[in-house]
């Protein structure tokens, strides 16, 4: 996949500036940057949820930004997206939510009657089981916790038989334990299925722990694109700007799992200083 000088304007606001990068082999890529740096917009452009103002994305000799209707939907099927707010259908049960990942394969008529084949149901159940969610298959999605919903969203993404997974802040609304679980699932998918995973991450620590390659964005432009080890603290601080302290703070980086005792100690410390 080759992304060539993508630009996006929202009115006068230049949200994505001349972004270009190449992905030659399946990689786990973390895109970091502060809020409003254009990370989400970039992912949405790749999935074609948002149209770029100009630029192109080439895969196997095809510019996917030119795709229309049926071909566009087929591309969306191939690059599954995971959202910060999970974007499941809250009132449908978990199993149906997962099977919805196959909508692109189905005729509208058969699907609208919820006539899913036994194979599709079996695939969905197996995926749910892999993430430890099979026992919730018949519950409504809205009854699940955030972490559980995100795991269902991952199952839906996998149900699409994707070539690539885009994750837009997948752990930003999760607690530390669930955040770790979700990141590990994504890493496992990358390792086992050899898929490219591009993930927007707010925190440096998570990106360094799980990703093979980090792309740093600032004010819409790519300012760093290399191995995680090569990202210096100074540059990282520059990328995050005013949000640096928050991004570096281990408590907020959400992947550090604390034991109960540690948490209790922290709470006591806070009370002591208050």
């Amino acid at each position: 996949m080759q992304i060539i000088s993508i630009n996006k304007f929202f009115g006068n606001n230049h949200a994505v500036k001349n972004v270009s990068f190449k992905v030659n082999k399946p990689q786990m890529i973390g895109i970091i940057g502060r809020s409003g740096a254009g990370k989400s917009t970039l992912l949405r452009i790749i999935n074609r949820l948002t149209d770029a103002t100009d630029g192109s994305i080439e895969i196997e000799g095809q510019n996917i930004l030119d795709l229309k209707s049926k071909e566009k939907r087929s591309w969306q099927r191939k690059c599954a997206m995971i959202f910060q707010q999970f974007n499941l259908v809250p009132r449908l049960d978990v199993l149906t939510n997962v099977i919805l990942g196959r909508l692109n394969y189905q005729g509208s008529f058969r699907a609208s009657l919820k006539m899913f084949s036994p194979d599709e149901r079996a695939d969905a159940l197996i995926l749910l089981n892999n993430l430890g969610m099979a026992n919730t298959a018949l519950q409504r999605a809205e009854t699940l916790s955030g972490g559980q919903q995100q795991r269902v969203a991952i199952c839906r993404a996998l149900m699409q038989n994707p070539k690539m997974i885009l994750a837009d802040e997948p752990i930003a609304s999760l607690d530390p334990m669930n955040a770790r679980m979700v990141m590990e699932s994504l890493r496992k998918i990358h390792d086992e299925k050899n898929l490219t995973v591009i993930s927007n991450l707010h925190t440096l620590d998570t990106a360094k722990t799980y990703c093979d390659r980090i792309i740093g964005m600032k004010d819409g432009a790519v300012v760093f694109d290399d191995l995680p080890e090569k990202l210096s603290d100074k540059l990282a601080r520059e990328i995050y700007g005013a949000e640096a302290d928050e991004a570096f703070e281990p408590q907020v980086t959400s992947t550090e799992l604390k034991t109960k005792n540690q948490v209790n100690e922290d709470v006591e410390k806070e009370f002591a200083t208050a």
Binding site: L49, Q76, F86, P90
Partner: protein, 284 residues
């Protein structure tokens, strides 16, 4: 002042009092004007009717008394008469049910084509909204009378009139329900590569359908009353019967019809509450 306030806050307190006084004065003035208008209007109407208001009031209470007296005189023979009118009631209910169902389906279609989050083309939205406004703005009575004139006495004009009004009225409510529904699931299905119809089927409908049904049941209740009223102008059913009975002054029969109607409305009210609770219950 019970507590001494610092000088800078005292000004706020003074202003607040001023404001409260002002409000009290304007509300009192409003009430005074209302009373004046009410009594003035009554005086004017008394003059216009040359004092028949008092007699009218007496008749007003006489008529229901006659109805009950008639009914009591009949004794047990009264109940077969109530049952005799049930088929007429069923015609009225049928008109309401049939037109509510067709109106419901039309309303769903209108609502989809007038929701800003489903249709990009502003012209389509404007046209559908305008169309719904038109269907809603004609009173059912007038539409029914026009069609009764054109098609002769039957239930069909009532069905057409109620359907048109229901489609517009429910369409408006449905549009708001769709526009207020959560956009994230829709976006989620977009990212999966779902078509427009698939997105509506799987992310919009599951969110709004319980609300739609709840509105629909409420509309059914309104439409039972509507179809009764349309009977008065010749659309058949218990309304037409009631109009005739009132003219012939068959007191006991009038009361029988009213008994059926009130019973139906109450029953429908309880049923719709039960259905709606069931719908909400399933949601949880």
């Amino acid at each position: 002042m019970s507590k001494a306030l610092p000088a800078n806050l005292e000004q706020i307190e003074v202003n607040l009092k001023k404001l409260t006084n002002q409000r009290t004065r304007s509300s009192l003035l409003g009430i005074a004007i209302l009373i004046l208008v009410f009594f003035g209007g009554t005086l004017v109407s008394l003059e216009a009717n040359a004092g028949s208001f008092g007699r009218g009031i007496a008749n007003f209470f006489n008529y229901p008394r006659d109805l009950f007296v008639d009914t009591f005189e009949m004794g047990w023979k009264y109940w077969p008469r109530v049952i005799k009118y049930i088929p007429e009631l069923i015609i009225t209910l049928n008109i309401a049910l049939f037109s509510t169902s067709i109106g419901f389906v039309l309303a769903v279609i209108f609502a989809i084509f007038s929701s800003r989050n489903l249709i990009r083309n502003k012209r389509v939205i404007q046209f559908t909204k305008f169309f719904m406004d038109v269907t809603r703005s004609f009173p059912t009575l007038i539409i029914a009378m026009v069609f009764l004139y054109l098609m002769g006495k039957s239930s069909l004009p009532a069905v057409i009139a109620i359907t048109i009004h229901t489609a517009g009225a429910l369409g408006k409510l449905f549009t708001e329900a769709i526009e207020n529904c959560d956009g994230k699931p829709i976006e989620g299905l977009s990212s999966v590569g779902a078509t427009w119809t698939q997105k509506i089927r799987f992310s919009v409908l599951p969110q709004v359908l319980p609300l739609f049904l709840s509105y629909g049941i409420l509309r059914l209740e309104i439409n039972v009353r509507e179809s009764t009223i349309l009977g008065f102008v010749g659309a058949g059913g218990i309304g037409e019967l009631l109009a005739a009975l009132i003219q012939w002054n068959y007191g006991a029969d009038v009361l029988a019809c009213m008994f059926l109607l009130v019973g139906t409305i109450i029953a429908l009210d309880y049923l719709s509450a039960y259905w709606r609770h069931k719908l909400i219950g399933v949601n949880q």
